[in-house]
Symmetry: D3
Subunit: 78 residues, 6 copies
């Protein structure tokens, strides 16, 4: 009866995309469910997967909003 | 000081509805708070309830997006 | 396919108890599942309930650890 | 590697605002990350912060939707 | 910067085991991180995975504590 | 009515400590509650803080259990 929660920023994975696509979500669901089957022998029908998309403003890393932190890392030393 | 989090798919509960209504949310809040009062004697004013509506694309069951899994169950054996 | 998460402090609900009992947990599970059936017509077998017991040291209210806050409320004005 | 999740109602913090501003979110992210650095010596770049804004309809307190509960408290005794 | 949370019951995956092993946890962590890399091109070092083990008493399904529900399914029709 | 959830590994913050101390927890609770008061004018008594301590085996980063990943970072290039 596992529950897998996947939190990601609401962004596209490539140029011209602004969010996670339905096809990518389906692959995340399939992959996470399969992982629980492979490692812990949990039947597919007993696993729930919930995907939460979080606006980039609402995600912080390094003490900064996510996009600023990425810019800083890209520019700066680290 | 309980916190009750209720995650449901963003869908209507009957024909012509496309989401959980404000009245249904109020009933979920009242019912969950009452449950904590009845079972654990927690006063109503010390319980928080948070309802999270999840797009059907973002909910997986049986290794599939939720709507596909339901279709498969309705059609198939189980 | 609802998921209901119930977070409570790890305490007994009456004298001589130091934690939530298995019988109380079963009542929380039954009640939460029934609520989703009554309000949103979700079949019992599609609802998961997860109970999380949190040490009182790890729960804060009013800017204080929970037990201190309760003492202050009991003693003080509010 | 801490994760700090901040759940708040989707409301403005003052007249003329209807939601948490980007500047307020940045302050929450900075403050929460700094807190983990100060108390537990966690480097800023190892802390994630996720802000979840919850519609007021979806938040319950005192057995009621949040806005109704506030009205009742403002009006009533407590 | 994804966060993957995996909630499972605290049980062994085979005879003679009473909990998820460290080796199984490492496989869950590796697999979930790889999934985010494959599907959304998230670098491994930007993904956090948190595994939460939940006592079987604290997990409900079908309106019952998980072990009772399993017994009922095994015995009964469904 | 904010809820702040702080997830950290179950470790001491200095030599000779194997877990977060009660005093550190109290500081996290005070600081998080104050932050919500300062930034969003939320009264202290309307904020809940929940601290979740996660075993280091159960926390993944960089595709590895947390302690292995730290070792690798300390040893290796990054």
């Amino acid at each position: 009866m596992p529950i897998v929660t996947i939190q990601v920023t609401r962004e596209g994975s490539g140029p011209g995309r602004t969010s996670v696509t339905a096809e990518e979500k389906a692959r995340l669901i399939a992959g996470a469910s399969q992982l629980l089957l492979d490692v812990l022998h949990k039947p597919l029908e007993s696993t729930f997967v919930v995907i939460e998309e979080v606006d980039t403003d609402n995600w912080g890393w390094g003490g900064l909003p996510a996009l600023e932190y990425r810019k800083q890392r890209a520019a700066g030393g680290k």
